[in-house]
């Protein structure tokens, strides 16, 4: 129900953005419907489908189960989501290699509860292997940290 409502909102925003579909002066070529026509009606179809989904959710008797099975499943997901989010944000300051080392090390320490040397190994070997494969092997440059003038990564 909530997902359908979110889809309706996205559709409404897209339809509002494409309201020029009703502008009498449309495309540049004879017969063209213009740039807004296609997104407007696509969004309309999406909105109508979402309204239908919401209607079915209201009318049909569905099992009353929660979105998550239990608290442990929420924790399992959050254990992944929050570090991914922080990892992606830290890129622009820490660069790819430092951020990846920290991210791998965090998982080894927090979820794996490994000994110190295994944590360090995970934090160092992964960025090093990626550097060798991507930057040296495939010549794909990855973002460097704000310390780049001093450090080589």
């Amino acid at each position: 129900m909530g997902t359908a409502a979110a889809i309706v909102l996205i559709a409404a925003a897209a339809m509002f953005d494409s309201r020029a579909a009703f502008n009498p002066v449309r495309g540049t070529a004879p017969g063209d419907v213009g740039a807004a026509w296609y997104p407007f009606w696509t969004a309309a179809v999406m909105g109508v489908a979402a309204v239908g989904i919401a209607y079915r959710a209201l009318v049909l008797p569905l099992p009353k189960e929660g979105v998550f099975a239990n608290r442990a499943s929420v924790v399992a997901v959050l254990n992944l989501v929050i570090p991914i989010f922080l990892y992606a944000i830290s890129f622009q300051w820490l660069g790819f290699y430092i951020a990846t080392g920290a991210y791998m090390g965090f998982f080894a320490a927090y979820l794996g509860r490994y000994r110190f040397y295994w944590i360090m190994a995970s934090a160092v070997i992964t960025p090093l292997a990626i550097f060798l494969l991507f930057e040296v092997g495939f010549r794909l440059l990855l973002p460097k940290s704000i310390f780049y003038p001093v450090l080589p990564f």
């Binding site: 494409s18 969004a43 239908g52 399992a76 997901v77 992944l80 790819f96 791998m104 979820l111």
Partner: protein
Amino acid sequence: MEVFGLLAGGFATALQPINVAFLFIGVTLGLVIGVLPGLGGTSGVAILLPISVVIARGDIAGADTTTAVILLAGIYWGALFGGVITSILFNIPGEPWSVVLLFDGFPLAKRKGKPGLALTSSFLASFVGAFIATVLFTLFAKEIADRALAFGPPELFAVFALSFATLVGLGAESPLKALAMLAFGLLLAAVGFDTITGSQRLIPFAGSEFEPLRNIQINLLAGVGFVPVTIGLFGIGEILASAEEQGIGYMEKISARLGLKDLVEALAALRKRWFLVVSNSLIGFLFGVLPGHGATAASFLGYGLARQYAKNKEDFGKGEISGIMGPQATADAAGVASLVPMVTLGVPGSPTSAVIMAGLFVWGLQPGPLLFTEHSGFVWGLIASIYLGHFLTFMLCLLAVPLLASIMRVPYAIITPFIVVISIIGSYSLNNSMLDVAFTVLFGLIGYWLRKMKYPLAPLVVALVLGDSTERELRKTLIAGSGDPAFFFSSTLSTVVLILAAIVLLLPFVGAVRGRLRRAGVAAVDTE
């Protein structure tokens, strides 16, 4: 026959050392990806797309676009086989299309104590299914492409419409959800510049002077990247879903080492079931050609058919070999067949082939019938590599099961963040864009949530990759007909295909209305 001459040329291309090397890398990676429950074939192909760009532009001596497509397709073939191993040995499906093997594969391995036979039967059926499908691909692909060369905008639009209709009308658990996802994909594809008029579309907060927002808007003008979205939906989304579904560290384990005895026993089992395997392979091929279905739906169809026509229905679910061979042959045939519409018509048959098709765009190729005339070496090299890829995968599976199964022993705290890191590199390195990384994370969350709410992702991905072409052909048809919608029906072919699309689209809705009327009739009789 001309086809066999072209195929021989394809083998000459595919057998070049560099192509064999990347085929080997591809199928090995695919097998590893197939074994890992948190990573699917689609995300594996998407993550390695940036590397394929490096290969395709010739940075590696001797490599070209054929090498790149062989690598990506190899991952797909490997993943088609690899998911089997964890389903049978650990009772955990490595891929969506190997879920069906939990019914009979795991019981045969555990209850009957024959893991080697279960695995070998499955590999053998996969190989036969894929081989039959590849022979059909070889025989009919050029014929289809030659006919498709005569297609104009109305016919092309009709083909796209039929693709979308099959995504909604055939097989979707909820047609309304499939329709909403399809429209969402088309809408995402419309973000940015309109290619015909050059107008900006669907750019949030357009005109804002806030610097970070303006940077995002400038990046969005080029459109929403297909690769970051796919990596998010499938890579990050699957990781989150598997973290929740499987918990951490739980698995049942059976060890297996395959021997000649298992192969002989599996061959005897295949001889007894040759009709099932051949007929399921043919059905899998026909099913796989339909856009959006791919191997997963085919595997369930294959299991249903095997059970339906079996004399020993009561043995199904207890380790019956037909319950392994039937779905495997169907799934692999469908997997191969999903490349047929991509190569011949420019319409992907499955999410994985949609990602491969996106690769073709990035390398500067135009998927569709022109490939056969303008890049004949590429197409026939790909087709030849399908034969080689499946043979290689089959041999690797027979030889390396214990090694592949040991991948499951890599700790969760290492493998999960590693997949995330590789996903992030995959999304960043295509355009060196942090916005792409943000899209990957965002669509990872969206993909996880949509999966949880049982929204199908295939329509979204296929619509995202076909969105631009669909709109272009729609508007070209209108321009050619000076705005008259009747021009969509200007040829017999477009008329037939559009009518077919309408029928397919309306099938589930008609079925629902009939069901309601029937229930109302029963209720009325009850009241009387």
